[in-house]
């Protein structure tokens, strides 16, 4: 009796594992299938080099760059916010703060990552943008600046936490060597610890950027829905993710070219994050080996 029970449990576990793998494979297959159908009608070249994106208008253009530039721009702004702040926090927690402070603050930072993104989006639209408009008169109601900044706040804990781990992993002996040579704390941080932890810090940056690229809610709410090939952070734009939401929720007929655009766009998104995650995995493995 007990044996059969265990057998059943084992089978169930295996089945759920299989389900996950099959689901992932299924998503991938559909993504590839639908986007390849898209590329029968639209040339890859046109898609990858075009700077007009108007699939929903009568005069249709299928250049991905307006969506891509918006995705890059919002992510870049997020990184410009998150990297200095996140790294400073990591350095402070690691080299300056005492152990108790570190123990209390680290989990508090993680809270930033668990705020629902829709709240962040709302915050960007209704608070940050009006606030910034007081100083930047040209700032439109929808823009990349304010969701970029808010997204930056969201990814701070990713950068600070992973960088902190990387700094923490620097062997004690290197700190000793540096202090023993008469280096100050500041010199030790910037000349020894950060270079030694650089691959871990880069991993944190890549993962954070990858998260920002895939982020949907914040940009959908606060960045606008106007495909716009620009690197001006003050005007409305539309990111890849926003576009996918817009079409998914809209009334575009299912089996149309317009509808398949979201699979092509989704493919680009998938490839971007896939490549970044793999680079970070590869780097992670590399730096784990370094201190063995």
């Amino acid at each position: 009796m007990r044996r059969t029970k265990e057998k059943v449990i084992e089978k169930l576990l295996a089945a759920s594992g299989l389900m996950t793998i099959l689901t992932t494979a299924g998503i991938l297959v559909i993504l590839i299938y639908e986007s390849s159908r898209f590329f029968i009608d639209v040339s890859i070249w046109e898609f990858l080099t075009g700077t007009e994106w108007t699939p929903l208008f009568s005069k249709k253009e299928f250049g991905i760059w307006p969506l891509l530039s918006a995705t890059f721009l919002t992510s870049l702004i997020a990184l410009l916010v998150a990297l200095p702040v996140g790294l400073s926090i990591a350095i402070y927690l690691n080299e300056y703060a005492n152990r108790n402070f570190r123990k209390t603050v680290k989990p508090m930072l993680e809270v930033l990552a668990s705020v629902p993104t829709v709240v962040y989006g709302f915050f960007a639209l209704t608070i940050v943008t009006p606030f910034l408009q007081q100083f930047i008169p040209g700032l439109a109601g929808f823009n990349s600046l304010s969701p970029g900044i808010v997204m930056g706040i969201m990814i701070i804990p990713m950068i600070s936490s992973l960088s902190e781990d990387a700094l923490f992993a620097v062997p004690r002996t290197l700190r000793d060597a540096s202090y023993g040579m008469g280096a100050t704390r500041f010199q030790t941080v910037f000349r020894v610890l950060i270079p030694s932890a650089s691959s871990g810090i880069i991993v944190s940056v890549i993962l954070a950027v990858s998260r920002a690229i895939g982020e949907t809610m914040i940009v959908a709410i606060a960045a606008g829905q106007q495909p716009n090939f620009t690197f001006n952070p003050l005007v409305p734009v539309e990111t890849i993710t926003t576009y996918i939401v817009q079409v998914s929720l809209g009334d575009v007929p299912r089996d149309s070219l317009e509808y398949r655009t979201i699979f092509a766009a989704g493919m680009v998104l998938f490839l971007l994050t896939f490549v970044m995650n793999n680079i970070s995995l590869w780097l992670k493995r590399k730096y784990h080996r370094q201190y063995e």
Binding site: T173, L174, G180, M181, G182, A183, T184, P195, Q290
Partner: protein, 250 residues
């Protein structure tokens, strides 16, 4: 260069009374060995001279350490300046993850010296003093990790010498090295004492006998005996010292 003087030193780590009323005078341009069983306080005592214990939580001390007649625990003393005068070589070779050249140049760079010609010169003379120059002169740009353990340890010595210290503290510098590297290191220490005051912790009695002029025997946080190495090894005044040296315990 004057003597290094430890006056009535007491050290605690929390409740652990790690050094108990230790007083000792270390002569300049000599090698002084600190010996004793594990946990007796040798490293703690050594690290007092460059204030490396300051980073340890729960560390507390009483007493004075005088170097050139200045109490280095006086609040006005700048620890960074002190550590340029009192260099340290650690148990495990700990080069920075950068090139051989940059490792030796580190001390100059943190003092704001970036002139290439001067750096080149200091790197070369330091590596020569550490008897490593001939082995690495063609590969200065290579990562320090590519060197053998013994070479890395001599690199760490070169790095220390580059800032022209007066005192060099060594905490079991040969314990991670093979016999050939160890004997190279011992020859080097013998050379260095002409220009530097050296304090070395070692677990190896033969090594203490070979390289040191004076030896201090610690036991459970107390300085039991301190004398010329010759006398300590031939005719120790305390039974504990004799037992330890002859390997009957520890």
């Amino acid at each position: 260069m004057n003597q290094l003087i430890a006056k009535n030193i007491n050290v605690w780590y929390g409740d652990n009374h790690a050094l108990q009323d230790v007083s000792m005078i270390i002569d300049p341009f000599q090698v002084t060995a600190l010996i004793g069983p594990s946990g007796c306080g040798k490293s703690t005592f050594l690290r007092l001279f460059n204030r490396m214990n300051d980073y340890i939580e729960n560390f507390r001390m009483e007493g004075e350490i005088l170097i050139n007649d200045i109490n280095i625990y006086d609040p006005v003393v700048n620890t960074e300046e002190l550590r340029k005068k009192v260099g340290m070589v650690f148990q495990k070779p700990n080069p920075f993850p950068s090139s051989i050249y940059e490792n030796v140049a580190f001390g100059m760079r943190i003092q704001g010296m970036n002139k290439k010609s001067e750096l080149d010169e200091v790197v070369e003379t330091s590596l020569k003093k550490a008897v490593l120059w001939d082995e690495v002169k063609d590969s200065l740009k290579k990562p320090a990790f590519s060197l053998s353990g013994g070479q890395q340890q001599r690199l760490c010595i070169a790095r220390t010498l580059a800032v022209e210290p007066e005192v060099i503290l060594m905490d079991e510098p040969a314990s991670a090295l093979d016999p050939i590297s160890t004997s190279k290191l011992e020859n080097l220490i013998f050379e260095l004492k002409k220009s530097y005051t050296i304090v070395i912790v070692t677990h190896n009695m033969q090594q203490a006998g070979r390289i040191s002029d004076k030896t201090a025997f610690f036991y459970m946080g107390k300085l039991i005996e301190y004398d010329t190495t010759k006398r300590m090894f031939l005719k120790p005044a305390h039974l504990q010292t004799q037992n330890y040296i002859t390997g009957r315990f520890g």
